[in-house]
Subunit: 586 residues, 2 copies
């Protein structure tokens, strides 16, 4: 019988690659392929080899433990979803071509579940009848499908992936809020236990719907989302963030029209006038849904956030060139002075504190400097219409926002009654009346989290696994596998550590030391135990901590003793990369 806590490199299927695969752009994709953790089956579709599968299971189990501790109940819904349910919810068309669809042999329509709101709502609507059965939270850890138009970045944007998705049912908003807060806290613990540096960020609900939502982003250069965050705890994607810009006041005694020949952009204007871009004001014109002319003004160093503008103005569509001509507006020199009567002027909140503006003069080749707010022009409405960026003021505490890129690893939503109402999922409330469920939904990208962990924990030599999710904790490297002393000593130590509850890899291959070292670093085992002939003769081994590169000699006895702490701790290693600190600090 094989000891399940011991893995032998001689039999492990983990084919390594010497070179970075050409189609891999980011660290996690490269390293998971190079270290033999995953293999591509088709675009965006991967096989998890033994080590990849193990890391995945570790993450799954962390998620499962946290969900179970919250009283959420694990279920398993099918991947094949009847198309009728998507018709009922009204999402059949809205979801678009990312939904993979197929017909069965009787020509019934199905899709491969990208998410399960429809299924779970249909599941409970017939049988969850009374407020007495609420609240209820059910989750699954399961394969999901999204036909990404351009799958890339390995496990970050794939077409078949593993998610935990959970759904809660409530009789009131208060009850939903309570569960939402519980899930939020559980998600923080999940991120921490996985060893992630992360931020919960304000975000957009997208196709899932619902009013209140929060994304959990692992900070990483490879992330597809641009984030702003503050030490006070505020964080948001740049799409929804509410930071205030910091314009630089450029004071002149009186409004002056300046000839600015050939100046069309903010950069050109700032250079021409020799002032910072933050002293200029940018304009954008459009129409709202009622056809009314709307002109927006934002600090010159910021972009208009058209989605925000649309919410403020009641829709916002950019003017066509003909429209601009009709209104007498000039691209590249629009300004608030002398706008057509009918123009509705909206300016960014942060411009309110700027008394004099540098703006277009509504005349080709001319700008105004010192256009005075309230005297030379009026603003109809002040609003948050900018795309926030690092350096802006935090909307919560006013300090400077920092910028980062993030990988969305989880999201929590308050769905309200969007699905229950559309699909007629009601229960009898305390007053004896039928009422649609108030719902929440909670997702963790399990395979994506795996990639995010690697993005945060790697160096030029390979992966650096946090203990909590490492496919194994310790790698024993006997440097002379044929030796009468070394090999048996390595086997004995492996047994001992395995019996302490540690997961041990033993590199029992007849390979050169250099190959063993390189692959151990590549695979990222948290602790390496290097056993050489000379050291062993004195009862000593060398240990190396992958995260820091620290090495030291230690007697086998001291090593065994120091690792004794593992006993009992095996279920919860925490996220610490420092699990082996006691070994290196005496």
């Amino acid at each position: 019988m094989t000891n399940p806590n011991i893995t032998r490199m001689s039999t492990l299927y983990a084919p390594t690659l010497k070179e970075d695969p050409t189609d891999a752009e980011i660290a996690s994709h490269k390293l998971l392929l190079r270290a033999g953790f995953i293999r591509k089956t088709a675009a965006g579709i991967y096989t998890f080899l033994p080590l990849g599968k193990r890391a995945l299971s570790k993450i799954e189990n962390i998620v499962r433990e946290e969900m179970d501790a919250c009283g959420a109940q694990e279920i398993r819904m099918p991947m094949l979803q009847p198309e009728e349910l998507w018709q009922e919810s009204g999402r059949a068309d809205a979801y678009g071509p990312e939904r993979m669809r197929l017909n069965d042999r009787h020509d019934h329509e199905f899709c491969l579940g990208p998410t399960h709101e429809e299924l779970i709502t249909a599941l409970v609507r017939a049988e969850l009848r009374s407020y007495k059965q609420l609240p209820l939270n059910m989750y699954q850890i399961q394969t999901k499908f999204r036909d990404e138009i351009r799958p890339r970045f390995g496990l970050l944007r794939s077409r078949e992936f593993v998610m935990k998705d959970g759904y809660s049912f409530h009789d009131s908003q208060e009850s939903l809020q309570e569960e939402y807060d519980k899930m939020y806290a559980a998600y923080e613990r999940i991120c921490e236990r996985c060893g992630l540096e992360y931020r919960p960020v304000q975000a957009d609900a997208g196709q899932i719907g619902g009013a209140v939502t929060c994304e959990f982003h692992a900070l990483a250069e490879a992330g597809e989302s641009a984030l702003v965050y503050c030490d006070c705890g505020y964080a948001a994607s740049d799409e929804v963030g509410e930071g205030m810009a910091r314009p630089t006041v450029y004071d002149v005694p009186e409004m002056k029209k300046v000839a600015t020949p050939g100046v069309h952009t903010i950069a050109e204007l700032a250079e021409f006038l020799n002032i910072p871009e933050t002293s200029t004001v940018k304009a954008l014109s459009g129409k709202n849904d009622e056809g009314k002319l709307v002109v927006l003004f934002v600090p010159g160093d910021h972009e208009v956030n058209e989605e925000k503008a649309a919410r403020v103005a009641g829709g916002f569509t950019l003017l066509t060139d003909e429209d601009m001509e009709t209104y007498g507006l000039h691209k590249g020199s629009m300004g608030p002075v002398g706008l057509p009567e009918q123009a509705y002027v909206i300016a960014a909140n942060s411009l309110k504190a700027v008394p004099k503006w540098v703006v277009g003069a509504n005349e080709d080749g001319y700008h105004y400097v010192g256009a005075e707010l309230g005297k030379d022009f009026q603003v109809d409405e002040w609003a948050d219409i900018i795309t926030v960026k690092p350096g802006d003021c935090c909307p919560k505490c006013g300090l400077e926002l920092k910028g980062a890129r993030g990988i969305e690893v989880a999201q929590v939503f308050q769905l309200g009654d969007k699905y229950s109402r559309a699909m007629g999922a009601t229960f009898m409330n305390k007053d004896g009346k039928e009422q649609p469920f108030i719902m929440g939904c909670y997702g963790v990208g399990v395979s994506r989290t795996l990639a995010a962990i690697i993005e945060q924990h790697n160096d030029e030599n390979g992966m650096i696994w946090p203990m909590s999710v490492a496919p194994a904790h310790v790698c024993i490297l006997p440097l002379a596998t044929g030796d009468d002393l070394v090999q048996p000593a390595a086997e004995k130590l492996a047994e001992e550590l395995a019996n302490l509850g540690l997961e041990v890899v033993i590199d029992d291959r007849k390979e050169r030391a250099g190959v063993k070292f390189a692959e151990a670093d590549l695979m990222g085992w948290p602790l390496q135990v290097i056993m050489g002939k000379r050291g062993l003769a004195e009862g000593k081994v060398e240990i190396k901590r992958r995260s820091t590169g620290e090495r030291r000699d230690i007697s086998l006895d001291a090593l065994r003793e120091a690792l004794g702490f593992a006993k009992g701790a095996q279920r919860r290693w925490g996220n610490s990369l420092n699990a082996f600190s006691p070994l290196f600090t005496d």
Copy 2:
């Protein structure tokens, strides 16, 4: 924080049904629905509710433990399989419409994996290069899809189901045989640990291919396979079984032609002559692949197995009525005496010991009795051409075969090089030559096993879970939930048992005792602890063993002590329904 070992009926999502669902025909389907373990999403597609999911996970973990102990490595292959791979293996058409197919948004063809021989062969062919890396055994536990034309029997024949499938790679037949034997033994342990009465049976390899194969059948009336088995260990499906029939010799001095007006069947003939059917001989005529006339003779109480006959005769197609007329043959009175010259006569092995036959006279309304073998007619070939049935002689030991119906829960195959050769998956052998892998493949129907367990373990009141796979081990039934004494005592006991490692359900609902009893029986918890006011006043509770219905009073102290045995044993309960025997035998 919720104790994950304690389940509360007040919050558990397990909607029960009072009546058997109309579309459920067999016990497992009825009971899994009635007890709220599963719900149907579409024909042959089910959601596993919390209790169903737990039982499923228990089975998965037993399978995982046994595979890991054998050194098999767990992986996770995708469900979406590129159609090209099926073209390469040559199975694309052979597999038929059970394979669910779809195109992605770029019109690339995929199928939903019904099995993974193609994928794993493609996975290793590029990177498993040397005999030094062999043998290798990799498995996954994963969802599979088969578009059954008529899904039925709940989890027994569904369209989306959970399987463990494993594949091994070898450089020789000997190495394959070794792994096959290891897997065979592991499968026996899996069946035992799941509490199944089972038989490994000779079977047909079907579309998977390969020469050597064995199916593991759980014996159950609801099974779709007819089996024969013997106490000596022999077992086979009736399709491939090799038992010998036991004809009854009907001796008459000399061959005699008897008028048998209106007699067309064996039953009519036996009745007319007042002899047992076992004294008659049945005939069947056909053509082999070369068009040659073949006439088969089997004992009257047996059926010709046409697949066996085809293997012996080089193909076998029944004659049409016109063919029969051409040859002068008469349906209902065919016999070996006076057959056309060109007829090739094959008779069942078991007729060899019958010197005189009761057969058709090749003349409407006439039969021969006492037709003597070797004198009145000749047989060209003796062969195994019958469909075996209970009562026949065991081909291994000669004793009487028993009959049973079986549910195929697992199968092991020696694939040989069928896939590796077709798909060009080769390695460098010891002699430095490229050679296709010798492969084995090993499947367990995980969700089907769940159903098979229920088929074997149920009574009129519900399910009876073996400890090893029970969604929980003990159900505590406080009969007065509002009571100051009963409810806290129940909670305390639940905590104590949970801390011993037992999984505990507590029925903390304000329901009538009758409802609690009925649902506890329906859900099938192995042990019930019934806590009433009166007993508790004396420090006593009643315990009930679900498998036998035994009940007894026991002091709380004695119960705690007796269940102490659970400590340490929680990982391996064995398959025993008798885990609680010590409680009932003192």
